[in-house]
Symmetry: C2
Subunit: 227 residues, 2 copies
C-alpha cells in the first residue's frame, strides 16, 4: 500500500485510509506486507512503484485538480506510460457539475489505465497493470476512497488467496511475566503465528493459522498456561 | 520513519505514533521524507534500514519481551552487529520490578548501541549509528514512545536544520473552481510550496517557504485571487 501526501508526512492528517484498507483486507484473510507514506512528488511515486516487490499495490491520494496532486503522472511514469485526456470521463464529470479548464486534469489518466468510477466526488480512480504488477489508484478523501473500494475488492478476490483463521486471548498479567510461556508456545506450535500487544493494563495475544484445528489446540494449550 | 508491527499492517492499530512524531518534527521545521510500516520480521527490518537513503531513521515498535518482538535483532543485523546483554540495563530494570528470565531479552542491545532511558516502561530504547546513518529505536507503546521522544529531539536538534515558515488559507470554494488560481500561484511563487487539502465543505491551502517575506507576499496575492 502506498499513501501519497505531504500532509501525512507532517502529521497534519492521520493515515486512517491505510488502516481502513488494511482492516478490510485482513477481515477477508488477505495480508498487507508493507505500508509506505511518501510525498506528493512525481519521482518518489514512480520509483516507489518500480522498486516494490509486490504484485498488487493500492495507492491513495494525490488525484485532485490542484498542482500539488502528482499521482497520475507518477503512476504513468512508473509504467513508462503517458497521460491522455479521457473525453468520456470528462463528459461524465461535466454531467455532475461544471468542470473548469484546470480541473480537466482529473480526467487525464495513463493511456493503459482502466478507470474506476467515483460515485461521490470528481476525481476518477484507475487500475493499471503489466505482466509484473497491478496498481489500484484511489482518491485520498476518505469518503471517496471508501465508496470506490468495493470495486477494488471485486478485482482482488479473483486472486482467491487462502484464508487464515484468527483467535484472541486476553490477559491482565504483564507481558514480561508470560514471555516464557509465549516462547514455549512458539516452539510447540510453529505453524501458528503469534502476536502480543499490551494495551493499557491488558495484554492481547493474537493467534492465527491457516489450519483451523491446529489453531484450536494452540488456543487451548496457551489458555491453560497463562490462566 | 519506520513503524514495526503486524498489528499496524492489519489495521488493528492506527499508526498514531508516526503521525505524532511527524507533527513534533514538523512543528520544529524538520521534514519527514518517508514513513514505512513493516511486519515484525528480522529480515524486513534489517533490509529496510539498509535500503533507506536517509541519514536519520526513527523506528518505533517491537521492543517488548515476547517472541514476536524482532526489532533489536533486525537493527543489529542492519549494522552487521550482534546483540549483547547489558547488565547495567538489567540492573536498572530490576530496580523497578521483578524481571523474569525471558524478559531479560529486553536488556539485549546491539553492541554499538547507546541506550535511551524509558521512564515509564521496561523496554529501553537505543540509538545506533555509523558513518552513513543514525537510527533511533523507540518502543511502540505510545506513552513510552512519547516519554522518550524529548531525548530524540535533543539529538536531532544538534543537526540544526533551517526552519521553514508556514501559512494557511481557508476557502469554502470547491477545489476544482480554484485550480487555475493555484496553477498561476505555482508559476508566480516557485519558492513557496503549496498543498491543497479538501476537508468537508472547506479547502485548506497550506503555503510554506524558508523565505518569510516571500511567503507573506504569496499569501497576500493568493487571498486576493480566491476571495
Amino acid at each position: 500500500m502506498i499513501s501519497i501526501g505531504d500532509e501525512l508526512l507532517r502529521g497534519d492528517t492521520l493515515n486512517t485510509n491505510a488502516s481502513w484498507i488494511a482492516k478490510k483486507l485482513s477481515e477477508r484473510g488477505m495480508d498487507i506486507y508493507k505500508i509506505l507514506v511518501i510525498p506528493d512528488d512525481v519521482d518518489e511515486i514512480s520509483s516507489s512503484i518500480r522498486e516494490s516487490d509486490e504484485e498488487i499495490i493500492i495507492i491513495t491520494g494525490g488525484l485532485g485538480p490542484t498542482p500539488d496532486d502528482m499521482t497520475r503522472k507518477g503512476v504513468a511514469d512508473a509504467f513508462g506510460d503517458v497521460l491522455v485526456m479521457r473525453e468520456d470521463l470528462l463528459d461524465e464529470m461535466r454531467e455532475v457539475h461544471e468542470v473548469t479548464k484546470d480541473a480537466e486534469v482529473m480526467a487525464q489518466l495513463p493511456s493503459k489505465a482502466v478507470p474506476l468510477k467515483n460515485p461521490v466526488g470528481s476525481a476518477p480512480g484507475f487500475v493499471i497493470g503489466d505482466g509484473n504488477r497491478m496498481v489500484f489508484v484511489l482518491p485520498g478523501v476518505p469518503e471517496e476512497m471508501k465508496a470506490m473500494f468495493d470495486d477494488v475488492l471485486r478485482h482482488l478476490e479473483k486472486f482467491g488467496k487462502k484464508k487464515h483463521y484468527v483467535a484472541y486471548i486476553k490477559t491482565a498479567k504483564p507481558e514480561a511475566s508470560i514471555a516464557s510461556e509465549l516462547n514455549e508456545f512458539v516452539r510447540r506450535f510453529p505453524s501458528v503465528k503469534l502476536g502480543s500487544y499490551p494495551k493499557g493494563e491488558q495484554v492481547y495475544i493474537r493467534l492465527s493459522s491457516r489450519d483451523k484445528s491446529e489453531l484450536e489446540r494452540a488456543v487451548e494449550w496457551l489458555k491453560k498456561q497463562i490462566e
